[in-house]
């Protein structure tokens, strides 16, 4: 946001300048001498604070901000001890609703204009503005038009006093009884960095953390306020087993034995092809990996899909050259094929809007129905739903990108489930076939950790680390003791096979096909056609209610692990509260089931799973738990191309810092300054001397002897397969197979 000099707290003395200019709006000049702590300046600061406090009510004990309030802190640091103002303060009705979620206490407002500036400059929906003037100046929405922005919660976070309040958080806790953990929001696939806070083992608030490469400190309201469900009353807290036609609460061993027993029986009678796994985009990478290993390595089925027929084929997502969100800022052109980003991946919308509006990157809006980005688009080229982008638009975008220099970023997802993915895939292929342009794709799939699940092999034909079944067969056979014989079915295929009675055990990993699959009728017939359903879920969804075994799993806020966002950035999510009931982590459930099926994963902690992924999955090579924990901005896969971007964390979150390292008027930042020589926004490679090159964990960790599935190490280990990403073309396969298949179509 641009500085406006509203509060006047930063008046300073500048040599050779008359008066006291505000520091925030005064540009630095060569040889300027600025004094910030002279007697005159201190007197001014005291005076300004006394003015700010004249109409500020003495609400601190009942104010949600009391204890983390920048005005309070400023008063303690620079203010006068006592006020000379003895008259009656200004009074308004308090608080009034600006929308369903945001409340406004006008008495507390100090008119800094942060909220109105955010709404206009950052979010682009100025539904609030200053009204009236003089001492009656107040922020208001228009009569019948509530402040219903998708980003309204950010104004509450940046409000320097308790004027803007969140209905969800009002009176829930005080700042000093909150415990905080740094985590990522997994509501959509952008994975904005946040600080999750709990009080008395209940999650009460999520704050945005300023992470330069991802969210710039912003969150959408869906992510920020969509946290209540963690403690919802209808969470399933204990495992259930269907006995005599109805689900009964049982112990974990009973439930796990029942599930494993049925799987073993079906394996013996019908083979691995009769078992299918749907879902898995909800959990962490560790969950996805453990389930992939269970399904593909132990059971041997490839009927595994984490998408519900509403995304893009795994070949496309894993095969294209990935863009980072930062690439949008320095792009030659941006093409948006996919859904309306504001609806599906809201904070990506903020980044795209910034790139188009503030940084002048030409944006091509090629969505079929248009939406929020149209006002900022340099070119609007509506395509017919179901048709790929016209050749002229492709050419124009390519020419623009070539002229301006910089990559051509394609934002691609499914515009709607009514439309087959072909059009999007063919459009990506058209861009991929361009010569002389650096085309990079941001796959705007919406499911929380769908990119992590795809990378971990929860898709037909793939194994962890962006490798196909065939490419990784030898490697993973040795690591896992087996891989599926051939390519399996995707979600559509699984449901169709189930409806025809060819699937005998269906595992639902947080999937609710009845509600979520575009073809609800097919989903219904499928669930009716499957004799045995295992649901691993936190809620008794419509589909999970049909389960024969229900295994309650932990959810966001209750589990540690890593997640991968749409850029391929791996970040840690943190456990802040104890799981409800006896809910268990997904990866542990998979590991327990595997043990009952005769395979010992030998994984005791979540970090061991992360380390195993880092050792086994080619694209995740080297991304060990220790590295991800220390990398402030997470790590982007494949690691060796993005090593220079890693910023080593030097301290924790600034809101956690106690010794004055962070004050409440700073944005919340993950600790650690960029090391000297770290890449600036321009993306120049940094010297690699900052970090040791991560040693693949394979050479360090040896399986313990308990392992029964691992074959003893052969004299010459099979060569590690290359991941299919187009980024490794220099030394790998001739061309990424994805691009080839796309060009052929």
């Amino acid at each position: 946001m641009k500085p406006v000099g509203m509060c006047r707290m930063c008046l300073v003395e500048v040599e050779g300048v008359r008066g006291f200019p505000p520091a925030c709006t005064t540009p630095v000049t060569d040889g300027m001498v600025v004094r910030t702590r002279t007697d005159a300046v201190e007197k001014i600061q005291e005076g300004v604070l006394e003015f700010l406090l004249i109409n500020h009510p003495l609400d601190c004990p009942v104010c949600d901000r009391g204890g983390e309030c920048p005005l309070q802190d400023q008063t303690l640091a620079f203010g006068p001890g006592e006020s000379r103002f003895v008259e009656e303060k200004r009074h308004y009705e308090k608080p009034i609703p600006l929308s369903n979620m945001i409340l406004l206490d006008r008495e507390r407002c100090i008119q800094c204009a942060r909220c109105t500036r955010f709404a206009e400059e950052i979010a682009g929906d100025p539904l609030i503005d200053f009204v009236s003037r003089g001492d009656r100046t107040q922020v208001l929405n228009f009569a019948e038009q509530p402040f219903e922005s998708y980003f309204s919660g950010n104004t509450v976070q940046i409000c320097p006093v308790g004027a803007l309040l969140a209905r969800h958080y009002r009176f829930k806790a005080r700042p000093w009884d909150l415990a905080t953990a740094e985590t990522s929001c997994t509501t959509c696939s952008v994975h904005c960095r946040g600080a999750v806070q709990s009080s008395s083992n209940r999650i009460v608030r999520l704050l945005g953390v300023d992470l330069d490469p991802v969210n710039h400190g912003w969150l959408c309201d869906k992510g920020r306020y969509g946290i209540d469900w963690v403690h919802a009353d209808d969470r399933v807290r204990e495992p259930h087993l269907r006995v005599g036609g109805e689900l009964r609460e049982v112990s974990w061993p009973e439930a796990l034995d029942a599930a494993a027993g049925e799987i073993r029986k079906v394996l013996r009678m019908h083979g691995p092809g009769a078992i299918a796994v749907l879902g898995g985009a909800r959990g962490t990478n560790e969950d996805a990996y453990a389930w992939a290993r269970l399904a593909k390595g132990v059971i041997g089925t490839d009927h595994v899909d984490c998408q519900m027929g509403d995304g893009l084929p795994a070949e496309v997502v894993l095969g294209v050259r990935r863009a980072e969100i930062d690439d949008c800022d320095r792009a030659g052109a941006i093409v948006v094929l996919g859904p309306d980003p504001r609806e599906e991946v809201p904070v990506l919308f903020l980044r795209l809007r910034r790139a188009a509006k503030d940084l002048g990157v030409p944006l091509f809006d090629c969505t079929p129905v248009g939406g929020s980005l149209a006002p900022y688009a340099a070119h609007v080229a509506r395509r017919v739903p179901g048709e790929p982008v016209g050749a002229d638009v492709v050419e124009l975008a390519a020419r623009t990108a070539r002229e301006r220099g910089g990559p051509l970023v394609v934002v691609a997802g499914r515009p709607s489930v009514a439309e087959a993915p072909d059009a999007t895939v063919r459009s990506i292929a058209a861009f991929g076939a361009l010569d002389g342009v650096d085309v990079r794709v941001l796959s705007a799939l919406r499911r929380g950790n769908v990119h992590g699940a795809l990378e971990m092999g929860l898709a037909p034909g793939f194994l962890p680390g962006r490798v196909t079944l065939d490419a990784g067969r030898e490697w993973f056979t040795q690591r896992w003791g087996g891989v599926p014989a051939g390519r399996g079915l995707d979600a559509d295929g699984i449901l169709r096979a189930a409806a025809e009675g060819r699937v005998h055990v269906l595992v639902l990993l947080g999937a609710d096909p009845l509600l979520d699959h575009p073809d609800a009728l097919l989903a219904r017939r499928a669930l009716e056609g499957v004799p045995f359903v295992v649901a691993v879920d936190a809620f008794r969804s419509e589909s999970a209610a049909r389960a024969d075994v229900f295994l309650p799993c932990t959810v966001w806020g209750e589990q540690n692990g890593t997640v991968t966002n749409l850029e391929g950035r791996v970040q840690r999510v943190a456990r802040r509260v104890a799981p409800e009931g006896t809910a268990m982590d997904d990866w542990r459930i998979a590991s327990e089931l595997a043990y009952r099926l005769g395979a010992d994963f030998d994984l005791a902690t979540v970090d061991e799973v992360t380390d195993e992924i880092a050792a086994v999955a080619p694209a995740a090579l080297g991304a060990t738990a220790a590295l991800v924990r220390r990398a402030r901005d997470g790590v982007v896969l494949p690691l060796r191309e993005h090593l220079g971007e890693i910023v080593v964390r030097t301290r924790g979150l600034s809101i956690l810092a106690e010794e004055g390292a962070g004050t409440s008027w700073d944005p919340i930042r993950a600790g650690g300054a960029a090391p000297a020589g770290a890449p600036a926004a321009s993306g120049e490679p940094a010297p690699r001397t900052r970090r040791r090159r991560p040693v693949p964990a394979r050479t360090r960790r040896r399986p313990r002897t308990r392992s029964s599935t691992r074959t003893p190490r052969a004299s010459a280990p099979p060569t590690r397969p290359r991941c299919t990403s187009g980024t490794v073309r220099q030394a790998g396969p001739p061309r990424p197979r994805v691009t080839r298949t796309l060009c052929a179509s």
Binding site: P126, D129, F130, L140, F142
Partner: protein, 167 residues
């Protein structure tokens, strides 16, 4: 449903076209709307927002800054009585008090207290729809307002424009 009449809508479009940035037309359009309707209603602000490409909240914010825009229904005649220093010592408050009582129940007349209207030379002074009247007594002031009510004096519009003149 358009708030502006067809003639005024055409005029509004023409006003918007005069400025390099459509946003600049908010104030003239607000005057136009107030002259048409007698006050600035939420519907008027919504259409101004639509014509100038901003949100209604921004129009509301802009218009609420100026006391000349009436955001609540008001009378056909707006009587502004000054009570600043010069008028204070020469009898402004008495005029205000008298007029307020006299027209308290008259829907045609809205009496308001204003700060200095830059007519100290002729204090006490008041404006009727922004037309100056100076050297008043309570009785004289009432006569002036009645003259407007009878039609003996032709009032300006609520926004202060000459009847039929340009906004």
């Amino acid at each position: 449903m358009s708030f502006f009449t067809d003639a005024n809508l055409a005029r509004a479009r023409e006003i918007v076209a005069r400025y390099p940035s459509p946003k600049s037309a908010i104030l003239p359009l607000a005057h136009l709307a107030q002259d048409q309707h007698g006050w600035l209603s939420p519907e008027a602000m919504e259409q101004i927002a639509e014509l100038t490409g901003v949100t209604p909240a921004q129009v509301f914010g802009t218009c609420s800054f100026y006391t000349m825009f009436k955001l609540r229904p008001c009378g056909r005649l707006v009587v502004s009585v000054c009570t600043n220093v010069s008028c204070l010592v020469t009898g402004g408050p008495e005029i205000l008090d008298h007029l307020e009582r006299r027209y308290a129940l008259d829907p045609d007349v809205t009496v308001e207290e204003v700060e200095c209207i830059a007519a100290c030379g002729g204090a006490p002074a008041m404006q009727v729809n922004y037309e100056f009247h100076e050297r008043l007594t309570p009785e004289l002031a009432e006569d002036v307002v009645d003259a407007y009510k009878r039609g003996a004096l032709a009032p300006r519009t609520v926004s202060g424009a000459r009847a039929g003149g340009a906004a």
